[in-house]
């Protein structure tokens, strides 16, 4: 199945939930609405024509200027059909929660935990949603958000240096 056929088949199956399908550099990226994410993922996983049995990665992108600020990105691969697909959905900051896909792919457990840790997106029905790379008691926000400073929080500039002549 070519990428165009794959995209059009998804379009036919989910005329409402599918927002857009983009093909670029040989990668197919399908954006769905948040409420349809689990349904589409289940279809990709279970349908014999799709058979995306392998989870590649779960990632997230922060777009601070957009109304729906965060983008959750799933990437799947079909070992039998040798095909990749990227499934994306958008969530607003005020209510950043999406359905977890741990019931379909077991590997999603750690990957979603990482997204939660780094971007602060919560996953509904996730069995063990805790921070994974940062310490459990870390309260200074989510490091990969764009408003998290890239070069420290400025406290280094407040150091008082001794005058060289006074030493």
């Amino acid at each position: 199945m070519s990428l165009q056929q794959l995209a059009s088949q998804l379009q036919d199956t989910f005329p409402v939930g599918l927002v857009k399908a983009v093909e670029w550099r040989g990668d197919l990226a399908v954006t769905v609405t948040r409420d349809r994410l689990h349904e589409v993922a289940q279809y990709l996983h279970d349908d014999p024509a799709m058979d995306f049995d392998y989870i590649v990665h779960v990632s997230s992108v922060d777009w601070p200027d957009d109304e729906e600020r965060f983008e959750v990105v799933y990437e799947f691969y079909s070992i039998k059909k040798r095909q990749r697909i990227r499934l994306k959905t958008r969530v607003p900051e005020s209510d950043c929660i999406v359905d977890s896909l741990t019931d379909l792919w077991k590997g999603a457990d750690f990957m979603e935990r990482e997204v939660y840790d780094m971007m602060g997106i919560r996953f509904r029905h996730h069995p063990d949603l805790r921070r994974i790379l940062m310490p459990d008691d870390y309260t200074e926000g989510y490091p990969l958000r764009k408003d998290f400073p890239l070069r420290g929080k400025g406290w280094r500039d407040t150091f008082e240096f001794l005058d060289e002549t006074a030493r």
Partner: protein, 414 residues
């Protein structure tokens, strides 16, 4: 004060005889044991909380992040070229393959075709790195189980290749030899000779490692049938590389999505049957033989030619020209200070490193820096299956399980 010595009290609790209820019953509880983060067998700073029933593992919870350095955040601060040395520090045992995977991802984003000779050079060095990685793995895994001899033999042969890297790029571990669009420098005749010598020297040594391990009854008993994972579960957990292929799943990106010079070489992908630690070992040993085969074929097929793609807006000028030619100097300076202008878009590119699928997901909004760079690190994803694979086995098997993943914390925690 009199103590009741409980150790000498003999309790006989027999459910068939109700009178035994009057006897005191043994109190049992699960024992929590912290393994790591300062434990030599955890291959770095990994902590695992083990819940034990006797010596059996009931549940294990990996605690990651002791080596988290925020590499993905760092990537957003530098240009594409500047990120190459950071990739060395991901999987610090096999820096070359990280460079390779990253450069391939950026080349996909920029739509650059790498010249033929560079592709062969990349494949040769990547396979040398695979040999180093598997030797390191074999040595440390055997050491974890207590077979110390193999460790010394592997490291002796690994030294030859590390010295070869030293001559190639001036560093043994943090190499940064790959460049976007090609490689940094060509193989000299001395390097070629040394590599050919090594290829003749090495295969008998692999046989030697195998004899050492497979005639060791303790080692065999501790690897066969230990930490079994079914093919279905391995796929569902997203395992990759030898860890996945040990369960019999035929998934190798070198074959599935051929890249570089791999489609021009003939090699086979060994598959396991049982999905246990022994099969994961066996696959890696077979891959050593295959790597030697691939390098031999590449050396035979390689023709003279450029080693860097000619795309001046993206690729670096040859180093000799930078010091003698004004335009090349300016090009080099601009590429490093401002970077090149990447088109807006997003790509994912996976590469078969020796641990598994090492992938980079890059989101670009134009400009010289990546907007978001996500690293798909096989070690991290393998840790996700740790609890599933360790349940029901002994504490000592947990150690061999880390070993069989070939875990490196620099990559796991990023």
């Amino acid at each position: 004060m009199a103590f009741e010595d409980q150790r000498t009290t003999v309790y006989k609790v027999d459910p068939a005889h109700p009178e035994s209820e009057t006897l005191p019953t043994l109190r049992t509880e699960e024992l929590l044991l912290n393994m790591g983060p300062q434990h030599p067998a955890t291959h770095g700073v990994l902590k695992v909380i083990l819940e034990l029933e006797g010596e059996r593992l009931v549940k294990s919870t990996p605690v990651l992040g002791f080596l988290h350095r925020g590499v993905e955040k760092l990537a957003e601060d530098g240009t594409y070229h500047q990120f190459i040395p950071h990739t060395d520090r991901l999987d610090y045992v096999c820096a070359m393959y990280n460079n390779f995977a990253y450069c391939r991802a950026v080349e996909k984003l920029m739509n650059i075709t790498v010249p033929d000779r560079a592709e062969y050079l990349r494949t040769i060095v990547a396979e040398v790195q695979r040999i180093i990685g598997h030797q390191f793995w074999l040595g440390t895994q055997a050491l974890d189980i207590g077979a110390m001899t193999v460790f010394f033999y592997c490291f002796r042969d690994r030294e030859i290749l590390l010295d070869w890297f030293d001559e190639l790029c001036g560093a043994r571990l943090t190499t940064s030899w790959y460049r976007i669009g090609g490689v940094e420098r060509d193989l000299t005749s001395s390097l070629l000779d040394k590599l050919k010598q090594f290829l003749d020297y090495f295969p008998p040594k692999i046989d030697e490692y195998v004899i050492f391990l497979e005639t060791n009854r303790i080692w065999v008993a501790r690897t066969k049938g230990v930490a079994v994972i079914s093919a279905e579960d391995a796929v569902s957990f997203g395992l990759s590389g030898p860890t996945l292929r040990a369960s019999g799943v035929d998934y190798d990106l070198r074959k599935a999505e051929p890249y570089s010079a791999y489609p021009k070489c003939e090699f086979s992908v060994p598959l396991g049957k049982n999905g246990d630690t022994y099969d994961r070992y066996w696959i890696r040993v077979q891959e050593l033989y295959e790597s030697v085969k691939i390098i031999r074929q590449c050396l035979e097929q390689m023709q003279d030619g450029p080693i860097m793609a000619d795309v001046p807006s993206v690729t670096l000028p040859p180093k000799q020209r930078v010091f003698t030619n004004l335009e090349s100097m300016i090009q080099q300076f601009k590429l490093f200070s401002q970077g090149f202008d990447a088109p807006p878009g997003e790509i994912y590119c996976g590469t078969e490193a020796h641990k598994g699928e090492l992938g980079f997901y890059i989101v670009s909004t134009g400009g010289g820096k990546p907007y978001r760079l996500k690293i798909r690190a096989p070690s991290f994803i393998h840790m996700g299956a740790f609890d599933h694979m360790s349940r029901g086995y002994m504490i000592a098997d947990a150690i061999t399980l880390f070993g069989s993943y070939d875990i490196v914390m620099g990559e796991c925690d990023r």
